[in-house]
C-alpha cells in the first residue's frame, strides 16, 4: 500500500521540477536584468556613450560655439598638433614630476602608520587627525594654503623671515616654486589615505613573525626590512598604482590655486584639457588630450593587473 503511493507521488512530482526549473531560469534572467538595469542604463548613457564620443571627436576640428555642421574631420592632426604644443608638453612634464609625490607620501605614511600601530595611546585620535585633510573640501584647503603661502604677509614667509631668511620664495606666485608648493599640499592631503591603508596592512601581519625574530635577536631595522616591508608589499604596490593614477587626475588644487600659472609652471594634463575645452572652446584638441589621458590610465591599470602577482614578496 504505502509503496504504491510512494511510487505514485514520485511519478507525479518528478516532471514538475523540470518544468519549474526552465520557467525559473527564464524568470531568473528577467529578474537579473531588472536588478542591474538602472546601473547599466546610467553607465551606458553617462560613461560608455561619452567615451565613444571622445574618441570620435578627437579626430575632428570643431568649436563649441559653432554649429555641428561646421565640424571638419582632420584625422590624427589633433594628436600631431599636441606633440608640437609647448604647453601640452609642459603639462605632461609637470605630471611626470608630480608623480614624485606618490613615493614620498607613501614613505611618510608608512612610518606614521608604524608609529601609530606601536602606540597604545590615542590611536583613534591619530587616525582622525591625519585623516582630516583627506575628508576636508579641497577648495577650502586650497584657500587656506593660499593665504598661508602669501608672498609678503603669509605666516610661512613671516616665520622664515623671522629666522633671518631675507628673501623667502614666493611659493605659488613663483614659477620656480609653484609646482613644488602644490606637490607639498598634495602630499599633506594624501597622507591620511595612505596611512589608513598601511595601518590595515600592518595589523594583518601575524604577531608571531615578530616574536620569532625577537627570539633570534633581530634588530628593529632587520625586522622592518625582512618582515614589515615584504608583508606590506601588496599594499605598497596598490598604493603606488592608485596614487599614480590619481596624480593624472589632479584638477581642483590647480583650478583654485594657480589656474596653471605662473607661466604654465603648474599646468597639468587635466587642467590643460579643461582650459582647452571650456575656455578656448576647442573640442578637437581637448578630446585628443582626453584620449591620451585615457590611454595613460589604461596602461597603468594594465600594469596593475600584470604586476599584482609578481609584487607579492612573500
Amino acid at each position: 500500500m504505502s509503496a504504491s503511493t510512494e511510487v505514485k507521488t514520485s511519478e507525479i512530482v518528478k516532471p514538475a521540477p523540470k518544468k519549474r526549473q526552465s520557467k525559473n531560469v527564464n524568470n531568473e534572467n528577467w529578474v537579473g536584468v531588472a536588478f542591474v538595469s538602472p546601473m547599466l542604463i546610467g553607465v551606458s548613457i553617462l560613461v560608455l556613450l561619452p567615451i565613444l564620443a571622445t574618441f570620435i571627436l578627437s579626430l575632428a576640428d570643431w568649436s563649441f560655439i559653432t554649429n555641428i555642421s561646421q565640424l571638419k574631420w582632420v584625422g590624427l592632426q589633433n594628436f600631431v598638433d599636441l606633440f608640437q604644443d609647448k604647453i601640452f608638453l609642459r603639462s605632461l612634464m609637470n605630471n611626470a614630476i608630480f608623480m614624485l609625490t606618490v613615493p614620498i607620501c607613501m614613505i611618510i605614511s608608512l612610518f606614521l602608520a608604524i608609529a601609530i600601530d606601536r602606540n597604545v595611546y590615542f590611536k583613534s585620535y591619530f587616525k582622525v587627525a591625519f585623516f582630516m585633510p583627506y575628508i576636508s573640501s579641497v577648495v577650502a584647503i586650497a584657500v587656506v594654503w593660499q593665504v598661508l603661502f602669501h608672498p609678503s604677509l603669509g605666516p610661512i614667509n613671516q616665520f622664515l623671515m623671522s629666522l633671518g631668511i631675507d628673501n623667502p620664495p614666493k611659493w605659488i606666485a613663483d614659477p620656480n616654486f609653484a609646482l613644488v608648493s602644490i606637490m607639498f599640499i598634495q602630499i599633506w592631503i594624501s597622507i591620511g589615505f595612505n596611512m589608513i591603508i598601511y595601518l590595515a596592512a600592518l595589523q594583518s601581519i601575524p604577531r608571531d613573525l615578530y616574536e620569532a625574530a625577537d627570539i633570534d635577536g633581530a634588530s628593529a631595522w632587520v625586522k622592518f626590512k625582512n618582515i614589515t616591508l615584504p608583508m606590506v608589499s601588496p599594499t605598497t604596490f596598490f598604493l603606488l598604482i592608485t596614487g599614480i593614477i590619481s596624480t593624472f587626475k589632479v584638477f581642483d588644487l590647480i583650478s583654485v590655486l594657480t589656474k596653471g600659472g605662473p607661466m604654465h609652471s603648474t599646468s597639468m594634463i587635466v587642467w590643460n584639457l579643461y582650459d582647452t575645452a571650456f575656455v578656448n572652446l576647442d573640442i578637437g584638441h581637448s578630446s585628443a588630450m582626453a584620449v591620451i589621458l585615457f590611454f595613460i590610465v589604461f596602461a597603468i591599470t594594465l600594469i596593475q593587473w600584470l604586476g599584482q602577482k609578481k609584487w607579492v614578496n612573500y
Binding site: E28, N29, V31, G32, V33, A34, F35, V36, P38, M39, L40, G42, V43, I45, V47, L49, P50, I51, A53, T54, A115, I116, N119, F122, S124, A129, F130, F131, M132, S136, S137, V138, V139, A140, V143, V144, W145, V147, L148, H150, P155, Q158, W188, I191, I196, I197, L199, A200, T242, F248, F251, D252, S255, V256, Y274, A277, S287, A290, L293, T301
Partner: protein, 266 residues
C-alpha cells in the same frame, strides 16, 4: 614615542587651527606676527554673520549642497545595491558579461568624458540643473563593486532557503540580504556623502546659475569677491568643512574601515 607623534600631529593640523582662529579675528589682526593663535580681539560673530547672511548668503548654497548630496547619496546607494544584488545573487545569463562591462567603465577617467557629457547635457536640458548634477554622481561603479563584495559574503544557502519558502528575489533582497549588509551600505553611503559634498569639478562644469551653486563653488566665488578679507574667507572655509568633520567624526569607524577594506578612492 607618543609625545613625538603628538607633536607631529599638532603640526600637521596647524593649518586647520590657523583657519579656525583667523575666522574669529578682526581683519587687521590676521597677519600679525607672531601669530595670535587665540584672537586678542574677537570678531567671530560678525564674520560668520557676513558669510551666512551677507551679500552671498551661504545658507542658500548650503541648502543646494545638502539637497544635491542627500539625493545623490540616496540614489547612488539604491542603484548600486540593486546592481550588486543582481550581480552576486541572481544567477542569470549574461550576468558575468554585463558585470565585466560595468567594471571596464571604472577605468575611464571622469575627465576624459567631460566634453561629451557636457554636449549631451546641453542637448537634453540637464545642463545647469540640480537633477543633472545628481544623476552624474548616481551611477557609481565603485559602489557597485564594493557592495557586491559584501553581498557575496552573504551565504547562498540563506538565499536558497528563502527561495524554498517561496520568497521572490525582491523579497530576499529586501528582507534577507539587505539587513545583513546594512553596515556596508552605511559605509558606502557615508563615503559617497563626503565625496559628493566635496565635489568641485562637476558643479564647476555643469552649473552656471548663481542661485544653484554648491558650497564648493560658492567658496571659490566668495574668495574672488572678498579677495583681501582673509578673516571672512576663513569663516567661509570653516563653514564649508564643518559639516563633513561632523559626519566624519560620527561615522569615523565606518569611514576608516571602509577605506581600509576596499582601498577605495573617490
Amino acid at each position: 614615542m607618543t609625545i613625538i607623534m603628538l607633536i607631529i600631529s599638532i603640526m600637521f593640523l596647524l593649518p586647520f587651527v590657523w583657519m579656525l582662529s583667523t575666522s574669529f579675528k578682526i581683519e587687521t589682526d590676521v597677519f600679525k606676527f607672531p601669530i595670535q593663535w587665540i584672537p586678542e580681539r574677537w570678531n567671530g560673530f560678525n564674520n560668520y554673520k557676513e558669510v551666512w547672511f551677507g551679500d552671498n548668503p551661504f545658507y542658500i548654497y548650503y541648502w543646494n549642497t545638502i539637497k544635491v548630496t542627500v539625493c545623490t547619496t540616496a540614489i547612488s546607494v539604491t542603484v548600486s545595491a540593486l546592481a550588486a544584488y543582481g550581480f552576486s545573487k541572481v544567477n542569470f545569463r549574461l550576468g558575468n558579461f554585463l558585470f565585466l562591462i560595468v567594471l571596464a567603465t571604472y577605468m575611464v577617467p571622469a575627465q576624459a568624458i567631460l566634453v561629451p557629457q557636457f554636449i549631451i547635457y546641453r542637448k537634453i536640458g540637464l545642463f545647469d540643473s540640480h537633477l543633472g548634477l545628481i544623476l552624474l554622481g548616481s551611477f557609481s561603479v565603485l559602489g557597485t563593486f564594493m557592495l557586491r563584495q559584501f553581498f557575496m559574503g552573504v551565504s547562498n544557502e540563506l538565499v536558497e532557503a528563502a527561495k524554498i519558502d517561496g520568497a521572490g528575489h525582491w523579497k530576499i533582497f529586501w528582507r534577507v540580504v539587505l539587513p545583513i549588509v546594512k553596515p556596508a551600505i552605511a559605509t558606502y553611503g557615508i563615503l559617497r556623502f563626503i565625496w559628493t559634498w566635496n565635489d568641485y569639478q562637476n558643479p564647476l562644469i555643469f552649473l552656471r546659475s548663481d542661485h544653484l551653486l554648491t558650497i564648493q563653488l560658492a567658496m571659490q566665488k566668495f574668495t574672488t569677491i572678498n579677495g583681501e578679507f582673509y578673516s571672512l574667507i576663513m569663516a567661509a572655509a570653516v563653514s564649508a568643512i564643518l559639516p563633513l568633520v561632523i559626519v566624519f567624526i560620527i561615522g569615523q569607524k565606518q569611514v576608516i574601515e571602509g577605506i581600509a577594506l576596499g582601498g577605495v578612492k573617490g
